[in-house]
Amino acid sequence: MWRFHRHTEMSAFSEIEARNKSTRLVSALDQALSALSRHNSALLLFLVFCVVGVVGLFEIRDLQTANSEANNMYVVSVHGLRQIGELQYDAQETRRATLYALTTSDSNLQVEYADQTRDADQRVTRGIAEYKRQAKRPEELALADRLSRDWASYLSIRDIVLASILEGSTKEAVDQDLSVGVPSFERVRRDLTEVDRLYDDRASQSLANVAATSRRSAVKLIGILGFTFSLAGAAIWAIQRSKMLSAIQLAKLQMEFVASVSHELRTPLAAMSLAADNITDGLIEDKEQVRKYGAVIQNQSRQMAGLIDEILLFASTEDRRNRYVLRPLQVSQIVDAAVAWANGLIQGTGFVLEQNIEADLPLVLGDLTAISQCLQNLIGNAVKYGGESRWIGLHAFTAASASGAGRELRISVSDRGIGIDASELTEIFAPFYRSPRIGNLQIHGTGLGLSLAKRIAEGLGGKISVVSELSVGSTFTLHLPTAEGEAPEMTVVAPQSRPQTEV
């Protein structure tokens, strides 16, 4: 009647399964956020650096583009318009100096004016060549060609007019200038006006480009800042949530722990209380019955003491400052201790312990008490869940380390019992976890054994792996580092939360 009954109906089983699934999801999120929360500062700093770097790169690129556009605008608008202004002035100067020569009959002055007009026309010719060199668009190239032709045409008539003036044929010079020179220069003037207009167009286009670049830059900046704030907000939310979930998880574990411990302690206590009441009330009279009830009280008190020991041990491994004294151990020491304990456990139960210990096994680095506790938990589980076959296999051997660095010692404990469902293989190492199926089979336990074994293994720098199949059996393997090249004795801080869990 004091047997442990947790759930007996199928509806309750489904409810528990659903609850376990949601628990698994929450646990996964919780683990991820907990991992993040351990690196809050570094994460935030990294995020800030990343965002500042990205913002900086974008802004530098935009500034370069804006600078390039501004330079382009300067060349096109300011420099270009200044050039065309000079070109127009020099063209007028060419014509003006030619006509000045008409105003005098002094050949010396006329020669000076001829010099002036030739100097000016050379500047115009150079300016047109420069414009032609800078022209890129087809309309600019065509205009440059036309301007060059029209200017050459004007210069040829200018030479004729100039020669006539110097010869003294003033009337002839005026006639030639009016009939050919004026229309020719008018064509040049129109070409220069067109060049001016194109420069204006290009300047307007450049201005529009600069404005567009500026707008793009502003939009990008706003977008990036928005993204940065969003990211920072998300980071803060994630950190806060991870802290909250950690607190909730801790509270939940504590509640579960208290509930489970209370339940586990109450069962033997109830049995002892009932037996004591029966004896006190005088319901038990003959010696045989007294012995029987005494044995009940003895067994239940031992079970209770064992439970309390296990809880205390779990609490001690929970303490992250827990230290193990690592020293090289003979595998035979470990195996002998485990076998001695197992023999005491299985005595009279009909269980068979089959040993398979490889010869010449290397020394292993560990704490004998801790390893023994770990193996006791595994062997205890094999007895509890070993089913009707009543067989336990103990196998010690070496194999290549999973990390690839040398070899490791493996001690496996096998049974041919009820096995574990594949979906539960990741859950069985969680503290207080008990499969609903186990509850149905009315097998006692706190759900701390495997969790404890895992913590111990990881504290020793090893791990526990499991291979199992329903109704076939399970094999739990303890992986321990060998003592090759290690100092005879050393103290290490137990890493409680090693990420690797091979199940």
């Binding site: 050949s107 010396n108 006329q110 020669v111 001829a114 010099d115 030479d159 100039l162 020669a163 110097l166 010869e167 003294g168 044929s169």
Partner: protein, 179 residues
Amino acid sequence: MARIISLLIVLGLAVLLLAAVARETAHSAEPPKPAESLAYQPLAIIVNRSNTVNGVTMAELRKLFLGERGHWSDGHRVTLVMREPGEPERQTILRDVCQMDENDFKNHFLHGLFTGEILVSPKILDTPTGVRKFVFNVPGAIGYLRQTDVDATVKVLRINEALPEDPGYKLHVEVPSAY
């Protein structure tokens, strides 16, 4: 006594006069200081680079400089370019080509312009650079420059088949030259 004194005075004056004359004679017998002497440099006849004529004879050159030929063979009007009166180059042209003095040359052109035989009077330029630039600007111009003033902007004509640097070249201008 008075006669003697008078005679002595006359003799003294005569001696002084002779000494003065002797001194003057001796002074004038000194060679002139060769501060500078005259040298000769070829005088190039130049035309516009577009002119197709490459050389002329002295007779043809005379006609050109006296305005007796109005146009070149390519149709351009002949425009005479002269330096100002008194310039050595002008003197060389008047002496060796026109074979006239300044007055004859002026009268010749006054008469020619008046009668219409000459179309354009010569253009007078102050400097060799002015001459060169004028000839450069006017296709039918003809002028003259010292060989050292000539550059690639104008063309030098052969005179009687000779260029200024050739040995038999006829036209030279006097230029001052220091020892």
